[in-house]
Amino acid sequence: MFEKLLREPIVHFIALGVVLFLLAGQARHAGSPESDKIVVTSSQIESLAIGFTRTWMRPPTQEELKGLTDDSIREEILYREAMSMGLDRDDTIVKRRMRQKLEFLTEDTVAQGAPPTEQELQAYLDRHQNQYREEGRLTFEHIFFNREKRGKSAATDAEAVLDRLKGRNGSHIELDTLGDAFLLPFNLVAQSGGQIGQLFGDPFSKRLAQVTPGQWTGPIESSYGLHLVRVDEQIPGNVLPLATVHDAVLREVMNERRRRALDVAYAKLQQRYNIVIEPPTPPAIAEKR
């Protein structure tokens, strides 16, 4: 019976664990006596009290402070024991936290570095013009022809009105009398292509952008029907000046520095390691769905 037990792998495993535990304890006790010393400094106690005050909106009593101190000692002892037993190894949360702390250190050096100069910001803006471009804007008027109301004659009606508008030779035509009722505004001021697309549909917006300003033209089609249009003003899109987008560019430049610093730091560290990637065993690869 006992012999059988001795052959059980689980028993071997436990025994090995006990031996390792004892060895680890021995190794630590053999070290310098300083590692067994725990000093709680007055400034540590003070910071415990401050933490408590922040949480409870009042300072701790003597008894509570003693409780906090005892707990911090307890935490320190258990922490050291856990570390010496290697409990931090193969723990995803600990690993992630350690990685984060190291990355924070690198990021801190970036934050403490010299702030980017205006030239640097301008150079970044020049390299990324497309991200800081203001869309072109149009001011235009239109006359609506409802196809559901007019049927097939909507297009010819629109063309007839267009001829009238073109042939008026400066005489005044009351625009309010032309075309059909419509729920969207008839004159739109300084609207971007995106805004126009949201109101009339994107194909209309694209067609409108091609129109020669200053004269009635059309009809062009929207989501609702046909429109004669007159573009009164084209405000070209342009790259915004640094003054306008200063903060956004600064954020991006700092972000870029941070990313680069992390990559550089990592590349240096990586050189010190010999990395072997074993081919995955077949069952570890997910089957294709």
Partner: protein, 652 residues
């Protein structure tokens, strides 16, 4: 003082009305002999100042809202404890970026983007436990020291996040979350979270282009009965940061709306700023949202309640992901469209089942009716609210288009399983994932896209709800609209000149006249055609009974009303397996002048508009196609999306 400033200061509509009244007065002045010291100027001089002829430019003097602005007044991010628990990792900044049309990575790791940006957004995170989840996820020592907090932390670490989330929400509903771990106003953690919210909104706010409101949700939920309200600030951080949000947990907060209203007054007095409150999900309040008997006292509501509610809660969120709350078939058996995206199994956490007698105090139409009755009794109508839709998404993503629906919570972001997993399940009932409603947005008729203009438009109720599509709806009432007004080139100009817009009031009917209405709807530019426009009337008869009636006003094609006044269905082009439809039926635009054929000048009444789209595929159809799955037979695969306007009230 604060009341006046609240919604009159920037109100251009009021400005127009004042100008029109003044113009009228002056035309009378010219005719009448003046008893003034100054010699009377010749009439022709005055005519130059106040010409009879309209100005040369047809656009001069027009300062009414020409555009509707689209937004969501109710979006949660990871700062809401339940959103965080359900896996939301996006904060307020991400939410605003997404609403502006930028592509971001959703909490489920998938890229997400809106088809069209929104014009405004309110990030409204739960004020109770503000920022609780970031603390919990970070393993805050105070939370870890508490058995309940530690338990949740470990559940989440062990991959049981949704079980933890449900436990957190249920515990909050029951008031059993440990006081020691819940961030409360006055603590650094709480103030920090509020400052973050304010900063995110102030940074994203871009007057004229995009409005980011500061806001939060006051989540009164005692017993799991939803009495939630969203609070929206007209102001920027310089005022909002002087206070901290109102909570429901005693002793700092309260679950009674009366106390919230006091807090709102307190904010306005302290800072000179302005706030409004929007209630939602009466359908999950189990008979408490629009009470006649106050649930907190067991007594009938009094004049003070009615006055304060009418002042503080001028609009109601009538449609959202947790169901549509306009009308219920039990209350409106003759309304064939009342049975829309119904959530009526119980209260918010399904700890109590629904009983039919609760419904009257939950749905908007019934509340509008009871409001007339209460006004007769108390002299004030507590339920004189306008209507908007919003999402109440807990994902940081205001995305409720049927073909781009990102779900209620991060665990219901697009996946092959989301429709067939239970959304919430208790011993009382189960709500399945497919029951989530891809709804809604708020349409606001404002003069410009700024915090001030949008806020003021909400306060004057010139707003409407849609279940997602961005159709344009105009609704005016007056005494003199003629059939021809529907054919004028710019119906809005006639509407404002001869009547009041949605959210307005009519009173003192001229002898022998009935109210006339100019109503118009234009389909979403990239959406489905329109089926019909209906006007829904509610009134109070001389015996104190309320009634409702639905009038078919305008419709597509050459359909004819039957003898009961019902309109045949518009048809159906939905191809469910391919999740498509065609605009070969319906109309892109509907306009009509309508006169109430059964008007009684002695009876209080309200009128609001419901616009129906032709049938389109529901989000479940898009899911089935994209993921190549088969939905269970009980899952609806299409629907008729709709808009509800704010009512116009008639008071004798």
């Amino acid at each position: 003082m604060s009341r006046k400033n609240g919604f009159i200061r920037n109100s251009s509509v009021v400005g127009i009305l004042v100008a029109m009244v003044l113009a009228h007065c002056f035309s009378i002045v010219v005719v009448m002999p003046l008893a003034a010291q100054e010699p009377t100027p010749p009439a022709q001089d005055l005519e130059k100042v106040f010409p009879k002829k309209p100005p040369y430019s047809p656009y001069a003097g027009r300062n009414f809202p020409e555009r509707v602005y689209w937004g969501d007044t109710h979006l949660h991010t990871s700062f809401s404890m339940d959103a965080g628990a359900f896996g939301c990792r996006l904060g307020p900044r991400d939410a605003y970026r997404f609403a502006k049309g930028q592509e971001i990575t959703a909490s489920s790791g998938q890229p997400a983007r809106l088809a069209r940006p929104l014009d405004f957004l309110v990030v409204a995170d739960h004020s109770d436990g503000f920022g609780f989840f970031p603390l919990l996820m970070g393993g805050d020592p105070k939370i870890m020291a508490d058995p309940q907090g530690r338990g949740w932390y470990e559940m989440i670490q062990n991959g049981q996040g949704s079980a933890a989330a449900i436990d957190i929400i249920t515990s909050f509903g029951k008031g059993t979350i440990s006081k020691a771990i819940f961030p409360v106003p006055g603590t650094i953690a709480y103030q920090g979270a509020w400052e973050e919210v304010i900063k995110a909104a102030d940074e994203a706010n871009d007057p004229g282009r995009f409005t980011a409101f500061i806001g939060y949700e006051w989540t009164s939920n005692t017993g799991g009965n939803n009495l939630h309200r969203n609070i929206i600030f007209r102001d920027d951080g310089s005022k909002a940061s002087l206070i901290e949000p109102y909570t429901t947990q005693k002793p700092l907060g309260s679950d009674n709306p009366r106390d919230l209203w006091k807090w709102m007054s307190g904010y306005e007095e302290k800072t000179g700023g302005h706030v409004l409150a929007i209630a939602h999900n009466g359908n999950l309040s189990n008979g408490r949202m629009f009470p006649i008997i106050e649930s907190f006292t067991g007594r009938p509501i009094d004049r003070e309640y009615a006055e304060t509610r009418a002042l503080r809660e001028r609009i109601y969120e009538v449609t959202q992901i947790k169901g549509d709350g306009e009308a219920h078939p039990f209350l409106s058996p003759n309304d064939e469209f009342a049975n829309y995206e119904r959530w009526d199994k119980g209260n918010l956490d399904l700890t109590e089942k629904k009983k039919p007698e609760m419904l009257e105090f939950e749905y908007a139409r019934a509340a509008l009716r009871n409001g007339l009755k209460l006004e007769q009794e108390l002299g004030v109508n507590p339920y004189k609210f306008g209507m908007i839709g919003s999402t109440d998404a807990h994902t940081g993503l205001a995305a409720i288009d049927e073909d781009n629906f990102w779900g209620k919570v991060s665990s219901s972001e697009p996946s092959p399983e989301r429709a067939t997993h239970p959304f919430i399940k208790t011993a009382n009932a189960t709500i399945m994932g497919w029951e989530q409603t891809a709804s809604g947005y708020a349409g606001v008729w404002a003069t410009e896209n700024t915090r001030e203009a949008l806020f003021d438009a909400m306060q004057r109720k010139e707003v409407y709800a849609t279940t997602g599509p961005r159709m344009i709806v105009r609704f005016f009432a007056g005494w003199d609209f003629q059939a021809g007004d529907a054919n004028t080139r710019n119906p809005a100009a006639v509407g404002y000149a001869k009547g009041v817009p949605m959210g307005g009031d009519l009173s003192t009917a001229p002898a022998g006249k009935a109210p006339t209405f100019l109503v118009a709807a234009l389909k979403d530019p990239i959406g489905a055609n329109l089926d019909r426009i209906q006007i829904i009337k509610g009134w109070l008869d001389s015996s104190g009974q309320t009634h409702e009636k639905i009038y078919e006003v305008a419709w597509s094609g050459d359909r004819k009303l039957d003898t009961k006044g019902k309109l045949p269905p518009v048809g159906d082009t939905v191809d469910v397996p391919n999740a498509t439809y065609t605009n070969t039926i319906g109309a892109s635009e509907l306009i009509k002048v309508w006169k109430d054929p059964e008007f009684d000048a002695s009876q209080r009444a309200f009128y609001y508009v419901r616009v129906l789209e032709i049938p389109t595929p529901r989000w479940t159809a898009y899911d089935a196609k994209y993921f190549g799955i088969k939905m269970p037979p009980e899952v609806p695969m299409k629907g008729q999306e709709r808009a509800y306007t704010s009512p116009i009230w008639y008071t004798p």
